[in-house]
Symmetry: C2
Subunit: 117 residues, 2 copies
Amino acid sequence: MVNYHQRLDRTFAALVDPTRRAILARLERQDGASVSELAKPFAIKLPAVMKHLDVLDDAGLITRSKVGRTVTVRLSPEPMRAAMDWLRRYERFWSGSLDRLAAHAERKEAEARESDR
Amino acid sequence: MVNYHQRLDRTFAALVDPTRRAILARLERQDGASVSELAKPFAIKLPAVMKHLDVLDDAGLITRSKVGRTVTVRLSPEPMRAAMDWLRRYERFWSGSLDRLAAHAERKEAEARESDR
């Protein structure tokens, strides 16, 4: 069974490669694309693109369906939701006002003093 | 020079490992921690923790400062901002209403028909 942490591992691992990110970005703009359409912008050969699609598929970020000789690739964005939720906790560091940050730091210090007693 | 894509590569690569994510989560809750404090919850040896800290440091996600024999590790969350901004474009898939998704799909189809002419 793949747990929460393993799913996050796979999602982030899939996002490490710029070609895979570009494929996801393409599928975000265009709902469904053939493998050859997806491969076109890249200076890599089709088997290399297929390997990237395997990684994205294993991470649950795309689905592939075959009709005749054409494989259509679609975005399956759900795993990115957990990745974004994981990152969201750091959002206060850049979106929060300095006042809020200071208040947070003070609260944590107060908690630490409390737990030292 | 490290460009935008390479920085994103490094950020996502740093986030792949659950131990590194746990270290970042700890530093989110606690502003500044010693290496031994950070190492304590993990069933891995100190040199392994040091290697994880090197990866986080290379990705610009932590800073380390030494006073006497104590190294204090602090969170440097800025690179996560770009990672979150990258993921944000997919947010509409889960936060948007189905109506909005349908409208988006229709608009894209209309654009595609337009460009086929």
